[in-house]
Point group: C2
Chain length 197, copies 2
């Protein structure tokens, strides 16, 4: 049976973890991005559908493509971040179900032509996978700065012109510089966010 | 600067983590459910909106209310699980923004009356928070079995009759019994799920 992780690990993942706006001037190399995906990919998704697709925006040219889609307050910190991950989902994720979820032979056909089910499943599960990415980054000693403040349509036009992938949210990634952190936001009390029935 | 977590921790969270279908006959006490929420609540959400609401279904009466909404294959394992968490979101989450995100005085009004934005933000961020719940459970040595195979409308009618909260997905929780695990599903290769730009 598993034991609880150490206090140090719980602090790094949750208790002391923060959204970072500033990063050290140290790049993230390809091997680290591969390690990140190798962790996040193991997080569970509905019917092992794995709809998330991630574009690690790192080159100046790709950053420039992203710039015009960002809300004003997010431009400078995103341009300065070593990497900005676009967490998206593939609207044709179900084409992989025959190999990814062979236990249910009809799984692909359940989604085929059902745009509502594709979008709900894609948004829900790529969000789960985006959260796995954030916590995988923290597990590797990286800092994350997730954002919804951007124009999804503009990002999709710039990065996914064939219309197959849809952006969900963005995550700045790097080695953290805590001097850019805002004061920590409060959290709702247990009785507001949970019930035991 | 943070270091990477130990191999043991990375295995417990990601590499060796599994979706559990069977649990030991050991209850989860109130203190553990509070510890779980105390971890998951620190995960980041858009504008600190924290839309997720969690009902920990533990009593036989509450389990019975859930039963009729489950897909056939999920009934027995869910009835047997020590706790089933309903991860939902509050469609009035924005009413808390004046206290939770004081940095942006107009945040509440941005959502007020905008059902589309409320639902997208609620689904995206309660999914993130549901993923934090899964990884918080693993961090505490608990096992998780998340599921989308149920009738959301029926769960909402049974548990949220006033219509304010909407169910997102379910997570069985307990101390794991690996004898109920299915063979592990494959994962997509890096070049299918990610790009470096």
């Amino acid at each position: 049976m598993s034991e609880a992780l150490s206090d140090t690990a719980l602090k790094q993942l949750f208790f002391d973890a923060r959204t970072f706006n500033k990063f050290q001037p140290r790049p993230i190399d390809d091997a680290t991005l591969h390690s990140l995906v190798d962790l996040m990919k193991w997080g569970p998704t509905s019917m092992n559908s794995q709809p998330a697709r991630v574009v690690f925006v790192r080159s100046p040219e790709a950053k420039e493509k992203l710039k015009g889609a960002l809300m004003g307050g997010n431009v400078d910190k995103t341009m300065a971040a070593p990497v900005t991950a676009i967490v998206a989902y593939d609207t044709e994720f179900h084409e992989n179900l025959p190999t990814q979820f062979p236990a249910m032979p009809g799984a692909r056909d359940m989604f085929h032509g059902n745009a509502g089910l594709i979008d709900t499943t894609g948004l829900r599960n790529s969000s789960l996978q985006g959260a796995y990415l954030i916590l995988a980054a923290r597990s590797l000693g990286l800092a994350a700065g997730p954002m919804s403040g951007f124009n999804n349509t503009a990002v999709d036009a710039a990065f996914f012109p064939d219309g197959k992938w849809k952006s969900n949210f963005l995550v700045n990634l790097g080695y953290g510089d805590a001097s850019g952190n805002h004061p920590r936001g409060p959290r709702l009390p247990f009785h507001t966010m949970a019930r035991i029935a």
